[in-house]
Every structure is written in structure tokens, then in C-alpha cells.
Symmetry: C2
């Protein structure tokens, strides 16, 4: 990379902070109708910024909700990357818990406090500043770049899918870059290469037409709350393994390399356990905690409701019993196939003494980009140069639905290029951004575009 790009970044830090503070001053809370004007203002500010850094075809695209901001630069004989981010932020309540006002970005020590500091204005801004450095100093980018920034991520991206479907050609790319997640730990830059999927259900059992008196009728009929317990208890064995036949058929086993990578991570089981207040950690036999939460499927009961749940005692045989249950899925499990296996099994283990209804609530595919994918490797090199540390490889137990959409609709791998830290209070009071990561992130992003160019050579 041209040295003056790096110099430019290193000498522009004060300006970057001033600009980011301006960006953070716009209360772009997507969830609250009273901020609709701020959302529009923030989209315009974002578009203006895209123009200022030298992107082309910049526009604010209306949706049925908040607008999507787009810009690109497409003059390279090189791969095309799509940078995704979001300019909307979470609400700030309870605002009294903030040490400084949420929309007046304030630096204390090496942290910048403001709503949106890490999620996601700070992280997306790192990309914009890296783009700017290339375009201002080299007059070009090493790759083709598209930038798409939405205003509804914090409310579930209700209009993004349709926008992508409607603009498939315009968004065509070789790789998607997302900086909207934390590193494994402060000071431990990492690349998250896998996410779990989800299959969520509601089970409803009915035993009788109304609640019955447990004295008069106890012994005559099956109790749906007890039957529910029987049914649920058959979902996992004592070793924490899911008992649904065929459940593990498509599970991609961890490779030796992955298990080695995870073992090297600075993970303290005892601290972790104390942090969540559990008397003991527990999960599938034969796997470490990180392996279980990142790379193994699970079965969880998310909710239970039946009969009398108030204070005191009521001697009732409930007419109905309800459970919300869900499975986290890993590559290459398919939510629809798992749904069928689950439904068959529930039907099999539920006795005929109750009526059974299973409702499919929600499904999401697991996602993974293999560690040796050339774009992942490009990102690893970029992080190493930007942070002067070799990144670790991690996965995540949760889902990021947009990643599956990019995979499905644009047929492009995603690199999760997370610049946050786990303690930055995204969604909570006193959200903050660790400034060494912000500056390191700008450098890394600048290197990343170069490395992606090289990845295809």
C-alpha cells in the first residue's frame, strides 16, 4: 500500500474524532417515531459523507421505513466488495444511567462514549475513513467497493431483504464485509467465521376442555403440564445430546485446526461461569464450552406456561400446557429439515392422552466461511498489519440474519470484520468505542482492500 495512505490515516486522527462526534450527535433512533426526522437527517449526513470521501453514485433510497444509503466506486480491475453497516442506533433509556449525554460524544481515557459509538456508527465510519484515505491519497481504491448502510438494523431490518432482492445486479459482489460485532476480547483481534442458525417452535398440549379440580379429577386424566415435562425431557439425554433421530446427520464436525484455534483463545471457564452466575457449566459431553456454544447444535426450552402461576396454591389440573422451544443449528443443518425431524419426534413421544399442536415460529440457516477462504485469509493479514497482532479465529453462537441473506441472494461469502470489544455496552447505557480499535480498524480496513485485491491475484 502506498505509504502516504497510512500517513494520511495516522495524521488525521483528530479530524476523524471530530467528524465521528458530529455523526454521533444525530439521535438516529430507528425504533421511536419521534426520531423520524432525525433518521432522515442522519441518512442525508451519511450520504454527504459518502460523497465527501469520494464515492460515486451516492443516493438516499427510500423504503417503506427508514432510507438506505448507497455509494460505490467501481473503477478497479479487481474483485468487488460490499461493505454493509447501519446508521441507526438503539434507544437510550434508561437515560439517567448515562454518565455523559448519549448524543454528546465524550472522550474519557481512551474511550469515546455515545449511543452508536460501537454499534454501528463507529465501526462503519472506520471503513469510510479507510476509503477516504485511499481515494484522497492514491486517487483510487485497490478494489471495487459498494457501500450499503441501512437505517433499520436495530428494528430487525424489515425492508432490507426486499431492497436486496430488488437491486441484486446493482449489489453484485465477490465478498461482503461487515464491521458490526465485537472482537473476542479487548486486545485480541479476531475473525468470526461461523454463526449458528435457528429453528424455533411452540408446542401446545390440551388435555381437557377446561381446567379441572385436581381433587375431583386427579387420577382420571393425563395432566398436560406433566405430559409436557415428559415430552421435553425426551429431547436430550443426560449427556446433553439431542435425541431427535437424524438431528446430527448433517452436522459438520469441528476440524482439528478449529479445535486447536479455540484452545488457544484466552478463555477462562471459571470467570465465565461466575459472570453469568451459574452454579456449574453444562453441555454436550466431549466438547469444550466454546465448541458447544459456537459449533454444536443445541436444544433449549425458551418458555413454559401452564395452569396456575400466581402467588399461593390453586388445586387445578391445567387444561393446556405450552412450551417455546428452539434449536441452534450449525453447518450444514437445514432449518426446514430439522423442523420435520423435530415435529415427527414430538408426535411420536407425545401420548394420545392429550391433543398436540406444534407451530413453526422462526427459522434461520447457519452460516460459515471456512478459515482458509481467500477473503478470510486476506482479512487475517489486514488485521495483523492494522493491529500488529495475529488475529484469532472464532465463531458465534447467535445468528445474524443478514449474513444468510447475502449468502442466499448475492451468493457471496461474508467476512465479519468486527472492530468492537465485548465490553462496549452496545444496546446499554454508556455505550462506548475503544479508540485504539477505531484507529487500528481504519488501518486494517485500508489494508483489507489491498489484501482482497491480492487475494484474487
Amino acid at each position: 500500500m502506498e505509504p502516504n495512505v497510512i500517513d494520511f490515516i495516522n495524521t488525521s486522527r483528530d479530524r476523524y474524532l471530530e467528524e465521528l462526534k458530529q455523526y454521533l450527535a444525530i439521535p438516529s433512533v430507528s425504533a421511536l417515531p419521534e426520531h423520524a426526522g432525525d433518521m432522515r437527517r442522519c441518512a442525508e449526513w451519511t450520504a454527504e459523507q459518502l460523497r465527501a470521501i469520494g464515492l460515486e453514485n451516492v443516493r438516499v433510497a427510500d423504503t417503506p421505513g427508514h432510507p438506505i444509503v448507497y455509494g460505490d466506486w467501481l473503477h478497479a480491475e479487481a474483485p468487488t466488495a460490499l461493505v454493509y453497516g447501519h446508521y441507526d442506533v438503539q434507544p437510550v433509556d434508561p437515560v439517567e444511567l448515562w454518565t455523559s449525554p448519549p448524543f454528546e460524544a465524550t472522550i474519557r481515557d481512551d474511550e469515546l462514549f455515545a449511543r452508536g459509538a460501537t454499534d454501528d456508527k463507529g465501526q462503519l465510519f472506520a471503513h469510510l475513513k479507510a476509503i477516504e484515505a485511499h481515494l484522497k491519497q492514491a486517487g483510487r481504491l485497490p478494489i471495487n467497493l459498494r457501500v450499503i448502510l441501512e437505517g433499520e438494523e436495530e428494528i430487525g431490518s424489515p425492508n432490507l431483504n426486499q431492497f436486496i432482492l430488488d437491486h441484486k445486479d446493482e449489489l453484485a459482489c465477490d465478498v461482503v464485509l461487515i464491521s458490526d460485532s465485537p472482537m473476542f476480547e479487548k486486545g485480541v483481534p479476531s475473525i468470526c467465521y461461523g454463526l449458528r442458525g435457528l429453528a424455533y417452535f411452540q408446542i401446545d398440549l390440551r388435555g381437557t376442555s377446561t381446567d379441572l379440580h385436581s381433587g375431583s379429577f386427579g387420577g382420571a386424566v393425563a395432566n398436560p403440564a406433566f405430559v409436557l415435562a415428559q415430552v421435553l425431557s425426551q429431547m436430550k439425554d443426560r449427556g446433553g445430546r439431542v435425541k431427535i433421530p437424524g438431528f446430527y446427520d448433517d452436522v459438520r464436525e469441528l476440524t482439528d485446526r478449529e479445535r486447536e484455534e479455540f484452545k488457544r483463545l484466552p478463555f477462562n471457564e471459571k470467570e465465565y461461569r461466575k459472570g453469568i452466575g451459574a452454579p456449574k457449566l453444562h453441555g454436550e459431553t466431549g466438547y469444550s464450552t466454546l465448541e458447544r456454544t459456537w459449533a454444536r447444535p443445541t436444544f433449549e426450552v425458551n418458555g413454559l406456561l401452564s395452569g396456575f402461576t400466581g402467588e399461593g396454591s390453586k388445586t387445578v389440573i391445567p387444561a393446556t400446557a405450552m412450551a417455546k422451544v428452539s434449536m441452534r443449528l450449525v453447518p450444514n443443518q437445514d432449518p426446514d429439515k430439522i423442523a420435520e425431524l423435530f415435529e415427527d419426534y414430538v408426535r411420536k413421544v407425545t401420548p394420545k392422552t392429550v391433543e398436540l399442536k406444534v407451530t413453526r415460529m422462526h427459522g434461520g440457516k447457519p452460516w460459515m466461511t471456512e478459515i482458509d477462504n481467500p477473503f478470510v485469509q486476506a482479512a487475517a493479514r489486514a488485521i495483523e498489519m492494522g493491529f500488529s497482532r495475529t488475529p484469532v479465529y472464532t465463531r458465534e453462537g447467535g445468528s445474524i440474519p443478514i449474513v444468510a441473506t447475502f449468502q442466499a441472494e448475492l451468493n457471496a461469502p461474508t467476512v465479519l470484520f468486527g472492530l468492537g470489544t465485548p465490553d462496549e455496552n452496545a444496546h446499554a447505557p454508556n455505550e462506548k468505542l475503544y479508540l485504539p480499535n477505531f484507529f487500528g480498524g481504519i488501518l486494517s480496513a485500508a489494508y483489507l482492500y489491498e489484501e482482497i485485491a491480492g487475494a484474487r491475484r
Copy 2:
């Protein structure tokens, strides 16, 4: 019995109805503060009635709640019976569902409609009229009689226990008579000789200090809602038998005679099943439905609550899970002993991955008076004479706490001399009294006092 007692009863029917209508016109709803004055008025009316029929030592005894009315006649060289009943009634809401006003007793066909018609003013009034017939026509009662009528039965008798404790000598008796329950079926007079007891608990499990995201943490910790299902499922085997060690040790087995009696009852399993809307009846293997609901102990889940129970889906690992559970007990199980067995077993089957708390909510002893008890046999003969039908012997699956109190404090057996029918809407709109039972009940009660006198001879 002197023939003129029977004649007196048979020729006084119209007067009985007029008096009962007056009694039912007093809205003695114990649960509602606005009826406090009506409660006092009803107690006074009741006391005046006791005086009018010839009882002595009549008084309205104040309690911290509604008063207790007492009267006696103690001039016989014969056993002493204590007649218990209650002059308070249930609220009438939803009042718009009543065909005629709840406090204007109305006769349609052979039924009298009013709140309190069967529960319990109508049934206790049958005793008062039987007493009156003896005292007016014979100038004496064949036995010593005490009458105690409370005003708080429908709100759980909060002050009756203390009153009994404070007046043990005054209430001393050889047998307690209670007419506050239905017969097995209209036209099938019956004697209920056994009730089940109760042991009620709340189980609370805690897995972590707060709810966790099921994506980030799924696989790391035990899910308390799932653990609860595992724990509960171990309480009964597939055959419906409770698995708590020692649970059946003190269970009095059904005698051959009892099983024969139950088999003779007009009980239609199919109609019963349809009536409660169950796809199938279910319970402990080796026992009939009546045997299971009357004479076998049970384990029931009365309530379940954990995690997310609203509409839709929320991917949470609940921090806590709660179950209300209870066991119906039969002679000679002891609620305290069962509580210890249960708590030991729950502790044993709950894994160390969660914190366990078991709370004892409520306990009640089972009760039984053997069929061949002389007072039960006296009641059987009295019913046969009053209703011209041989009574059947039944038990009940529920509890009547006062019966255990009489047994414990007065050391007297109880005869449940139920004059209601199962379809009389006690506690519901359009409560009613089947008049042939009312008149038959007065005759039976008159015979009963004679037969009790004979039972000791």
C-alpha cells in the same frame, strides 16, 4: 319414630319452602365487604330460626370475621351429634347469566333456584326442619344435638379452627354430621365415607443470575426450564405410578367390598370422558377411574412458568423455572411425611447445574370413616327410609379441611350426609335445589337422629 313426626314433615312442605325462600332472600355473600350487614342479618335470622325450632343456648358468637351461630339440645340419654353447616354463600357474578334473580328464590318444575339453595342453606335447613319436627311433635330429640353454623365457609373458614379450639368442651360429640355435598347422582342417594388429603409445593430452579441469549450461551449452561421438565418427568412412571420412594408405604389398599361397591355405581366412562373433553382417560394402571380419583394418591403439576411466554418467539435461556405441584393423599398417608419424601427425592433428582428451592405451600390430611362404622350404617338406614332407596357408598377425590379438623380436635368421626345433586350449580349461576331431595332429606335427617340413638344401643 313417632308417626306424627313424619306426618308433620309431610304436611309442612309449603311452609318449609316459604321459610327457606326467606332465608335465601338474605344476600349473605361472605367474600364481599358490602354484604357485611347482610352477613350479620343472616346470622341473626339463623339464630332466631334455631330458637324457633326449639333449640336451646342459642347464640351468635362473634369472630374476627363473620359470626358463628350455635344452638343445642342436650337432654337425651344417648350419643351426641354435632350438625355443621354454613349460612354464607358464594358471590353471584356474572349475575346476567341468572334466569331469575339470585336472591329471589324461584321454583321451576321441581327445582328451587337461588344462590345458596344447595350450598348450603337448603341442605342445612333440612336438618333444622327435622329437629323442629321432633321437638314440636315428640317434645324431645332422640339424641343430644349441637348445631354449629359458620359464615365463612366460602372464604376458607379462617376463624372456625380457632373457635373449635376455644370451645372444645362445648362442642364435644360422638359424631359430626355434615350436609354440604352432592349425592353421587340425582336419584342415587349416597354416603361419602372418604376424602383425599393434599400436599402442595412450589419448585423453583435457578440456572443463572439473568436470562441469557440462547445464541450466545446455548450449550454452555443447563437450561432450568429443561431441567424442570427432567425433574418433573421423574415423578411418575409410564403407568402413572408415583416414583417417590416410600410414597405408597402407608396407602390403605381398597378392600374387596369397596371395589365391589364402586363397580355397582352408575358410572359411564365414555360420558365422563366426553363431559371433560379429554381425548382419553388416563391414570394408574390396575385401577378403575373411580378408584383412581377417590382412593388412590396422585401427583399433579398445577402450574408451570419459565422464560418467554408471550406471542411470538424470543431466544432466551430462562434464568429461572417454576412449577406448582401437588399430591392428593389417601388414608393413611401423612402430608408431613410425604413432604419429606418428596423433598428428598426432588433434591436427589435435581442436578447440581441449577439451584433448587422447594416451598411447602399447603397440606391436608386424608380422611375416612369405614363403611362398617355404626354411625355410617345408621346414616345408610336413615337414607334408605327417607329416600326409599338403598344408598351407595362413595368417596371423594377432593378435600374438606373442616372434616380433618373435627377428627383431630373433637376426635369424632364424620358422616357426610350429602343431600345435593351434582348438577345443582353450586358456585355458578342458576344455583338450585332439587326439591324431592330437600323433602327426602328432612325425612332422612329425622330418621338419622333416631338411628344414631339406636347405633349405640
